[in-house]
């Protein structure tokens, strides 16, 4: 509800996301053609920690390097 602590928290996360967008869109790294654009989306009121805890839950696995064994397999 309006003025609640939760709303204040969400507003703070939203403001922090705008700071991130400034960095991510910085011209030093985004001068290339078709470079990615970052901005407000449905995750902008989440903290990075919340975002990781909810959406980034894939466990890493080490796999053998691919070796092209034969032309037949590639075909």
């Amino acid at each position: 509800s309006l003025g609640s602590l939760e709303l204040q928290r969400r507003e703070r996360f939203f403001q922090e996301s705008i700071q991130r967008h400034v960095y991510l869109n910085s011209p030093v790294l985004s001068h290339e053609n078709n470079s990615a654009i970052y901005g407000i989306n449905q995750f902008s009121d989440l903290s990075p920690e919340e975002f990781k805890a909810i959406y980034l839950q894939s466990k890493a696995v080490k796999l053998p390097e691919y070796v092209k064994t034969s032309t037949k397999e590639a075909v």
């Binding site: 078709n34 901005g39 696995v61």
Partner: protein
């Protein structure tokens, strides 16, 4: 290799889904790959049950996380038949594993391939064409703020935390890129998709690559 290739053009890719607040990206990516592989084999393109994988892949942790490789290992070892999504609906939380009579419809896998393609993304493009869409893991921390364009920076290899499905690639422009389906709904990114630069293992996209054979 063609300059551009996308399994969506052949109608072999199911629509973008939304995992909501369930950390089941690993299940979404492999089920998406199985759906496409099944259709490429000449069958009807059908949405299969992600919830079944979330509930039943016992080496994983349902909506609290999992791995594409352990889920494929489970599917391959048990030959479990994936039910239709309409018959085993997504609930965005881990539930009890449901079993179906063996006579019921379902899609099982007969094997799977899983490799590290870092430094060999051209070979990976060939595998995409040969095997169908590829389930991959990525570092997606910066994706919280992604709106569109080709990701070339702001993520690392070797720090995977998210799983997605590569459906194609495009090398016709200045920057070649992978066409990647995410599971955060169609309002995220480019109608639910994200483009990632090819050739430098951006976001670790080539580190953990897998495809099911049906």
């Amino acid at each position: 290799l063609p300059a551009r290739f996308d399994w969506r053009d052949k109608k072999f890719v199911t629509p973008v889904r939304n995992q909501l607040s369930c950390g089941g990206c690993w299940a979404f990516s492999i089920v998406g790959g199985i759906e496409s592989a099944y259709a490429i084999k000449g069958n009807l393109l059908e949405e299969l049950s992600v919830q079944q994988v979330i509930d039943c892949s016992y080496e994983d942790h349902g909506c609290n996380g999992g791995s594409t490789i352990s889920a494929l290992h489970w599917l391959n070892k048990t030959r479990v038949k994936l039910a239709r999504a309409s018959e085993y609906k997504f609930k965005a939380q881990t539930g009890i594993c449901h079993y179906f009579p063996s006579s019921d419809f379902g899609v099982s896998i007969r094997d799977y391939k899983a490799y590290n393609f870092s430094g060999a993304e051209e070979q990976m493009m060939m595998q995409l064409i040969n095997l169908g869409p590829l389930a991959v893991t990525v570092d997606a921390v910066s994706w919280q703020d992604y709106l569109g364009g080709i990701i070339q920076h702001h993520c690392s290899s070797g720090e995977a935390n998210h799983a997605v499905l590569i459906t194609g690639f495009d090398t016709t422009g200045d920057i070649p890129y992978w066409i990647v389906q995410n599971s955060w709904g169609t309002t995220w990114g480019i109608d639910g998709y994200v483009y990632i630069k090819i050739g430098e293992n951006v976001c670790g996209i080539a580190d953990t690559v897998s495809a099911a054979l049906v």
